[in-house]
Subunit: 149 residues, 2 copies
DNA sequence: TATTGTTATACTCTATAACTATA
DNA sequence: TATAGTTATAGAGTATAACAATA
């Protein structure tokens, strides 16, 4: 039988870790503050910007336009963001955090950052740097595989 | 505004990478061989064993009992595995790969292994070791965070 | 009374395509 | 004719609880 130990198969390890880490973060923005992952990502993408077009949000969150459209509608219904017509393109919108959205984001950030720090504090500097490098190298390769079919 | 660059937020980087890697693998077992992720994991868990009880499958795949029950039902319908009553516990089953399941698994393994190698070949030893260390150190910490709420 | 595994239910996500308004 | 964004639809995955059979 070909050797295929699930525990040592890189994509499996990665999926298990990512799932566990995502859960630990979603506990904060999801359970405590009732945001979906997509809503949380949009808040984060908007937080350091005056405003962004929808297209920029799609790019900065790696979500697709349908997910962004729906998450924005929910954020707007909660009065966390506002959407205005883009003066430069009548088909598009310019999105901006409202004060309530900004306040919510400010409340959440220290909590998720603390969890991130708790995780990363178990690694030394060399390990963190290697991990960063690994992310940068692996992501384009994985996308290349998927694109080539 | 608190500093919260999504691109440098570890859980986000991890989720994006894991999603991209999973997609590149699912293209093989999913699109080419019509297996769900859970079915694929069960085949892998069974492949190097004569037989396994359901409880062992749950542990080895990090799936829950509902997912395992449903994925096994599908694998059985495809005649890839067989389920027999466990002689030692009338409530349980003993699961075994059928020859067709073994043959299918043998066909898929080299393909996903090749993709895994293509990914990992871009990393040097230090980077690979850092990834391994990250998996071992971060996973229990992430679970600890989730468990403590 | 507790445990194994199945089934039911409701909910969320995802993928795709169709659609509208504008370019 | 192409693009930005919305809406529709169907399928897949997820969480929870209820359940039957056995321990």
């Amino acid at each position: 039988m070909p050797d295929m130990e699930l525990d040592t198969f890189f994509p499996y390890q990665l999926a298990v870790l990512s799932d566990a880490v995502s859960r630990s973060m979603a506990q904060i923005y999801g359970e405590r503050f009732d945001l979906s992952r997509d809503e949380w990502r949009l808040l984060a993408a908007l937080a350091d910007q005056q405003s962004l077009r929808t297209a920029a949000l799609i790019e900065r969150t790696t979500l697709d336009k349908v997910s962004v459209s729906r998450a924005l509608a929910r954020l707007q219904a909660k009065a966390l963001v506002e959407r205005r017509n883009d003066p430069e393109d009548g088909r598009g919108y310019v999105i901006r955090l409202l004060p309530a959205g900004r306040a919510l984001f400010r409340k959440i950030v220290p909590m998720v950052k603390a969890r991130e720090q708790f995780l990363l504090s178990s690694l030394d500097d060399a390990q963190r740097q290697a991990l960063q490098a690994a992310f940068e190298l692996l992501l384009p390769r994985a996308r290349q595989l998927t694109d080539q079919g």
